[in-house]
Subunit: 405 residues, 2 copies
DNA sequence: CTACTTAACTCACGCCTTGAATTTAGCCGT
DNA sequence: ACGGCTAAATTCAAGGCGTGAGTTAAGTAG
């Protein structure tokens, strides 16, 4: 419990390996010389640690910069091919399995359709296993699988048990089931987290959240969610269900009923499903069979102005709550509906948020659109074992892990 | 930036000193034998570290438990007198300075009244200095001052700069001013934080929040605030203003105007000031000149039922937001008004919160009343240097620190 | 008084970081 | 081509730390 491993002198080395590896991962090729000040380690230790990492194949030479006179600095970088990661997205209509190298460049992908009624647990487990075998077959050189991350729709408790109302899962021990299925290599670290949260992680690592230590990634799709990053790490709460922004109360008296059973939730105004319903109530119609098409038609409609303005007002109020409660330096608006609505709504949303939020924290917050599409769930999922890998200084291979991070 | 001090082998010792000291502080007298498993250290290291701490006077013998046969275990505890702490509460009407021993038992106190118009910065600085000298004079044996914590009304940025709307402070560099005043010993760690947050810390360390890692301490007084504890540490946000729960939006359409300039804030319904105003609008009257007396009269009035029920509804919705967003294991309702209203309102509030919050996170949250009165601000303030002291394994004396934690 | 039991201490061993001294690697002027 | 120069990278002695087995200390039971 109390701070994991840092008692012995060997943990020190592990920790130093980790900082060096992490710095190299995020701040590109660096010379040993730069690494010193950046990590706070002495030149001697940098040499030692770097030498070890190179010997382990995790770090490689990346050319050198020649200075006028004097030995040129050798640049070091994380070797992309020294390990692979798998990200899985259990979506509404399909299971997607993607294989990445260490820099999260895609190596292979497999999409396995799911029937409409289809979130039968056993089937999902089987599809994940199949997808995994497919991508591994496509890339025979992938011999150093470092871990698997799975994004699922629902609340993930204890890093393994899934409660998914929308797909009819109640306390499904997905982690154990996957392990027991025999479909995935034993001894490979397995991580499970909510899909929205993995998407948030992806935005933080590679998208609009990059560099921020305190941020909120909002995800507006059919419903509404959020991923809160506190001091650089996703905040989970007591039972990993923190960030349920969609059911923030915005209207105690006279609130619209929400599908969660309550009234006046943000999601009852701003989610795509609710937005379309509100348009229908006002006489709006659309031709597209799917929500995305319908929402696009709504946006294009001449008479949707008042509805959109009202939506911006509610969204602004919801964002103001985030500003007041979390005081983030950045709020990223993501999710397919958020990205669709964003360009049209953002100015009005900003104005509304400014009026509802406190001046001081609002002034320190920037409100931006997400840079990654909804497909980044797999990237974010792969980020889970990657984070563990970096934290452990690259010493994970073959070790079992279950906790989510 | 990246994880403060843990590179060298001496930092390891510091860290282990810290865990031993912290365990002893919170889990009472312990034998070396128990300390081993609890800290993950070997018997040899426990002996070493304990010996060092005893030699430094920070830890002392606390008797022994005799077992049948075999050498009895010696119990160890933190020596209460090995250091003192000062907590300061800059309140509405007075500055209070309190001197504590290491277990936060009060040794002396000084109350210095502040005139009604009186939050002139220089005067406050002078009063703090005077109070400090008074308490130090009262306890001549207090020769090991470990640090000073100050709780102020307002947002504290960078651990030193205060923005206090209510007292007319705009970016006041209180930390520098105090140091420059010459009124307090140099080289003594000084910490400044929002008074509500220090109260929250006090509840977490010694009150209703004890033992929880994820909790929210709400503070309902004239206004409404909250202190969020994420993974055991108070969450600050990007500019230390996280937890501004009072201005959560509960009524977008038709919301009551709030003193913050917005509309529909929680504080516009639930704060004592707003509650009394709402009572007045409904024809309520009271005799007491102060808010506390007035609120007591309101509670006793026969016809305040509907108003209180409505208040419970709003408060419940506000708490539900906290449950959904933070997923705490515990919510503590504190602040003078909260403690006054609590016994009457809590059942209805709980019911309302249950209806607005999501089932899963709500089921994991307990809603309890605070155990400490509003006077605990000084205790919470003293907790700031104490936390630093424990983190540093007792090696702080004489070192300067400014960051808040 | 002896045998037994358990707590606490000691110390050889292996590992770590530091920082100065040393080696390595490329550039420049002659 | 060659030595001189500069700066990067490595090496290594010194100082520390935690571990865990062995040793000493401090009681009880008979």
């Amino acid at each position: 419990m109390a701070e994991p491993h840092r008692r012995t002198v060997r943990d020190l080395r592990r920790s130093n390996r980790s900082t060096v590896l992490t710095k190299l991962y995020f701040e590109g090729p660096l010379s040993r010389q730069e690494l010193g000040p950046l990590t706070g380690l002495s030149s001697g230790s940098i040499s030692n640690v770097a030498g070890e990492l190179i010997a382990d194949g995790l770090v490689e030479d990346a050319g050198s910069v020649d200075s006028d006179g004097g030995r040129p600095r050798t640049l070091l970088r994380v070797a992309p091919g020294s390990g692979q990661l798998v990200g899985v997205d259990v979506g509404e209509t399909r299971v997607r399995v993607e294989l990445f190298d260490l820099t999260l460049t895609e190596l292979a992908r497999a999409d396995l359709p799911l029937p409409p009624d289809g979130h039968d647990v056993e089937r999902v487990v089987r599809l994940i296993g199949e997808g995994l075998q497919q991508v591994m077959r496509q890339v025979p050189s992938a011999t150093g699988l470092l871990g698997i991350g799975v994004g699922v729709p629902g609340i993930v408790d204890s890093g393994s048990v899934v409660h998914g109302q929308t797909i009819g899962w109640d306390a499904v021990p997905l982690g154990s089931l996957l392990r027991a299925s025999g479909q995935l290599p034993l001894d490979i670290p397995l991580f499970i987290d909510n899909g929205a949260k993995t998407l948030g992680r992806a935005e933080m690592w590679f998208g609009a959240g990059r560099g921020a230590r305190n941020a909120v990634v909002t995800l507006i799709g059919s419903g509404v969610g959020a991923c809160v990053i506190a001091d650089g790490v996703p905040y989970q709460g007591a039972s990993s269900s923190a960030g349920e922004w969609g059911h923030t109360v915005l209207q105690v008296v006279g609130g619209r009923p929400c599908r969660c059973g309550s009234r006046g939730c943000l999601e009852a105004y701003v989610g795509a499903e609710a937005l379309l319903e509100r348009w229908r109530e006002r006489g709006g119609t659309w031709a597209a069979p799917d929500e995305e098409g319908a929402l696009a038609e709504l946006l294009a409609a001449a008479d949707a102005g008042p509805l959109l303005d009202e939506t911006a007002e509610y969204l602004g109020a919801g964002l103001a709550d985030l500003v007041n409660l979390f005081n983030p330096e950045r709020i990223v608006v993501g999710g397919w509906a958020g990205l669709l609505l964003g360009p049209r709504l953002l100015p009005a949303v900003r104005e509304a948020a400014a009026s509802y939020a406190l001046r001081h924290p609002f002034a320190g917050t920037s409100l931006v659109l997400g840079q990654l599409g909804p497909d980044a769930v797999t990237v974010g999922a792969a980020t889970l074992p990657l984070a563990r890998f970096l934290e452990a200084g690259g010493a994970v291979r073959g070790r079992v892990a279950t906790a989510s991070g």
